[in-house]
């Protein structure tokens, strides 16, 4: 019977282990594996990880995109993020385009589950905020609109935008 219990326990442990990556509520951060895995280049470049590889920005803001971005922000993001530098559930958005590259911002919006596992900056923020950012199923196109809105917000609040994009 003792053996059986041991076997059962190892099965349970095995299952928990293998389920980890898909679990949205896992707040503890796993320790890195023994052999240091290679960091993807996009992460090393501060662009995060995901579908968005390269974003080209025009200096001038696109008013329609800003408007659409704001409406999506109001509906899907504003419950946790304010437009100032004040943290609520997640960090405030003021100055975000001066801190993060546009690719990183859009990957965080569209690929949050992978970002929170693999991108060190995103993981550090999870440790800071202690609540996992949910996947809000924002399309790439809508994420681009949100980025445009962030740029406008930054210009308005800080007089600067896109400072991380250099």
């Amino acid at each position: 019977m003792k053996n059986l219990t041991l076997i059962k326990m190892s099965i349970i442990a095995l299952l928990f282990y293998s389920c980890g990556s898909g679990n949205n509520e896992r707040n503890t951060l796993s320790t890195p594996a023994d052999s240091e895995p290679e960091v993807p280049q996009s992460i090393a470049e501060g662009k995060g990880i995901g579908e968005i590889k390269e974003v080209n920005l025009e200096e001038e803001l696109d008013a329609d995109m800003v408007k659409m971005g704001k409406s999506i922000y109001d509906m899907k993001c504003s419950a946790c993020h304010k437009l100032t530098d004040q943290r609520v559930v997640g960090p405030g958005f003021q100055g975000v385009t001066n801190r993060r590259k546009p690719e990183w911002i859009m990957n965080m919006i569209t690929n949050v589950d992978v970002m929170l596992e693999e991108d060190p900056e995103a993981r550090a923020m999870l440790e800071e905020c202690l609540t996992r950012m949910p996947n809000q199923n924002v399309s790439v196109g809508d994420a681009r609109n949100i980025l445009e809105f962030f740029r406008e917000n930054d210009e308005e609040k800080t007089g600067n935008k896109d400072q991380a994009n250099s």
């Binding site: 949205n24 509906m75 899907k76 004040q86 609520v88 949910p134 809000q136």
Partner: protein, 672 residues
């Protein structure tokens, strides 16, 4: 995985000994073989089939996986469901409207999946409400009840809702004949005053919306079960009836006097012609049609007042009868559409009819008289043959697509496999105990998947650990891929399943919705973004426009509510991810809770009766901070002048320094 297999091997003998000990009827079939492995679906892997079981007196539908027998979901249909607010929320309570008023319960019996070309297409699921006659439609992308249509002037809609092979119609018949229209008459005037109806509900092919197309006025029998023709017999319906004696009391004896009852045979293509030619009469009646709007999730209820009646006396060649052995029940048609099995519950033999022989008999007018102007086809002329003494109490038959039929026998408690063409009996296996319906995936269609068979038993007794006088029903899963049926699993089923249908998992999985896109939410009280959350007063109605997002409700502090107000909490779940419902429970609410799916809006009415401050909270463990997802509603006396006020964290949102301190402290507490 190797470890796991070892554990299973260790457990297996224990399991088998357990079964052998409580089952002295037929243990041999379990001792040899690899039964447990066949029904075993390893953790993280999927079942091959979805099985939809009706709930009987629960009024609901349950969804199981095959071969594992695991329960995945209970879909509320005809009964209110406080667990998620179905039938309690303002959006869904209209689903229960009938011509009798709000009827919050029913008895669901027969499941029908939608079909195209005689195969399941995985779009919709239909089920009948027996008691207050209704048919419901379930959307198989959301597994939610989206429509209920009442059927007028019938009673006990047992014979329902049988679908045609391209989902043109759902066919049903009255189980209890009644006066039409209803009137105050002595019950012993049954023969003069009581009538039966066969109903054809048409389906809108794009949306599945149901409409009562026409009703056929029939003699006052008890219409029991039906099937529609397929392939060669497409365009025809077959309905068993009992009580051709037209008894009205002690039916157990008085409706079993004659050697044979009658099966009704309807040419519905002909009925369509008569309808188009205007050979119908319109009758005033009352019935309700309740339909959920896709964008808002709100159920709209409409009373209908006209039904179109076709009278077989005025419409020749539309309806026939053929005799069936004593008190028939099931009426099932093989995949080719040629053979129709009529099971007489009280007969020792089973009659198998041939569609082509029936057509020839009609052509040659080979009739044995008529009933109420409806010709009765000569029994022998329509017969393919008789299955001699297959067992006692034949009820229902399904097919495996390899030329075999499988029939349940209630009295002798077994499933019998027989060859449709030769009528030879090939195998019999006991079930535990007394099966009603059985199901083979696609077993009533043109393309059965003859791998498994589930017998749904009416009696459980000693099958499981005892749970007092009331128990779950037992189901038995058989592997029917070989020559002999092999029992591989017992599993308990909720309430009392009658019929069930099973479909290949891949036909549904890909279409299963994960959440409701919030951009498509057209609910008039939706709050699309936390910035729009607010409280409004209109007279004594207070509307709370509330949002839910892990892990807070907004607003979470509400003041200015007074005793006597009607408070409507319109909760919108702003999440857009799979499996993140939020719940909403209000202390003292006399209805239920809400369970709101991502992107959805649901409304709970609260009528506070006492002064005080009352808590509300999220009931679905949604995140690490779920326990914090709560709030307060202050209730002031009637006539008080406490102003309407609402908020979420005003202090922190107004004061950046306070917010930062708050978070530093929270972080410190969390890391301790």
């Amino acid at each position: 995985m190797i470890l796991y297999k070892n554990a299973l091997l260790l457990l297996l003998p224990v399991f088998l000994i357990g079964l052998v000990a409580c089952n002295n009827r037929d243990s041999s079939q379990l001792i040899h073989g690899d039964a447990a492995q066949q029904a075993y679906v390893p953790p993280g892997e999927y079942d091959e089939f979805y099985a939809f079981l009706s709930g009987g007196y629960s009024g609901q539908i349950t969804v199981y996986g095959l071969p594992s027998g695991r329960l995945f979901k209970e879909i509320p249909v005809f009964s209110q469901y406080p667990e998620n607010g179905y039938g309690y929320s303002e959006e869904t309570k209209n689903m229960f409207n009938t011509s009798y008023g709000f009827v919050p319960w029913d008895d669901s019996h027969h499941i029908e999946l939608s079909q195209q070309n005689g195969e399941f297409d995985g779009r919709w699921l239909f089920v009948n409400g027996n008691n207050t006659p209704r048919i419901a439609r379930i959307d198989l992308t959301t597994f939610e009840t989206v429509e209920i249509l009442e059927i007028p002037d019938v009673a006990g809609l047992h014979c329902s809702p049988f679908i045609t092979e391209n989902s043109e119609y759902l066919v049903s018949g009255t189980r209890f004949s009644v006066p039409i229209p209803q009137e105050d008459v002595p019950i012993d005037t049954y023969k003069e005053n009581f009538k039966g109806l066969i109903n054809y509900v048409s389906l809108d092919q794009e949306h599945g919306h149901m409409d009562l197309a026409f009703q056929i006025e029939m003699p006052g029998f008890n219409y029991d079960l039906a099937r529609n023709g397929k392939a060669v017999s497409h365009g025809w319906s077959f309905l068993t009836t009992y009580n051709s004696e037209q008894a009205r009391t002690l039916l157990e004896v008085n409706a079993s006097q004659m050697d044979k009852d009658l099966m009704a045979i309807v040419n519905w293509k002909k009925a369509e012609e008569y309808l188009a030619a205007g050979k119908f009469t319109e009758r005033e009646t009352s019935y309700y049609h309740n339909l959920m709007d896709e964008g808002s999730g709100i159920v709209n209820s409409e009373e209908k007042t006209i039904t179109k009646i076709l009278d077989p006396k005025e419409c020749p060649d539309m309806v026939y009868f053929i005799p069936v052995p004593k008190s028939p029940h099931g009426c099932d048609i093989d995949p080719s559409g040629e053979y129709i099995v009529g099971n007489g519950k009280l007969s020792a033999d089973m009659s198998v009819y041939s569609f082509s022989e029936i057509m020839q008999a009609i052509e040659e007018e080979n009739f044995d008289g008529e009933f109420d102007g409806i010709p009765i086809i000569n029994y022998e002329a329509g017969l393919h043959g008789i299955v001699q003494k297959p067992g006692l109490g034949p009820l229902h038959t399904e097919f495996d697509g390899r030329g075999n039929a499988y029939t349940t026998f209630f009295i002798s408690s077994e499933v019998v496999k027989w060859d449709v063409e030769s009528k030879e009996i090939l195998d019999r296996q006991s079930t535990f105990y007394s099966p009603g319906h059985l199901v083979i995936p696609g077993g009533e269609t043109r393309k059965p998947n003859g791998k498994y068979l589930v017998a749904m038993n009416k009696i459980t007794k000693d099958r499981f650990l005892p749970t007092g006088p009331e128990m779950m029903h037992s189901a038995q899963l058989f592997d029917i891929s070989g020559e002999k049926m092999k029992l591989i699993l017992d599993f308990p089923t909720k309430a009392e399943p009658h019929y069930a249908q099973a479909i290949e998992a891949e036909k549904l999985m890909a279409n299963s919705k994960k959440f409701y896109p919030i951009e498509d939410n057209t609910h008039p009280h939706a709050t699309l973004g936390e910035g729009n959350s607010r409280v409004e007063r209109e007279g004594d109605e207070v509307h709370v426009y509330m949002t839910a997002m892990r892990s807070h409700l907004a607003p979470d502090n509400i003041e200015g509510i007074k005793v006597g107000d009607k408070v409507f909490f319109h909760l919108t779940n702003l999440e857009q991810d799979w499996d993140v419902p939020h719940g909403f429970a209000m202390q003292g609410a006399t209805n239920a809770e809400l369970l709101v799916m991502p992107g959805q809006t649901r409304t709970l009415l609260w009528e506070p009766k006492r002064v005080g401050v009352f808590a509300f909270y999220c009931t679905d463990f949604c995140s690490a901070l779920h326990q914090e997802m709560s709030g307060y509603a202050r209730v002031s006396p009637q006539g008080s002048n406490v102003p309407l006020k609402w908020g979420l964290n005003e202090e922190l949102s107004d004061n950046q320094e306070a917010a930062n301190t708050f978070y530093e402290q929270a972080k410190a507490r969390a890391s301790q």
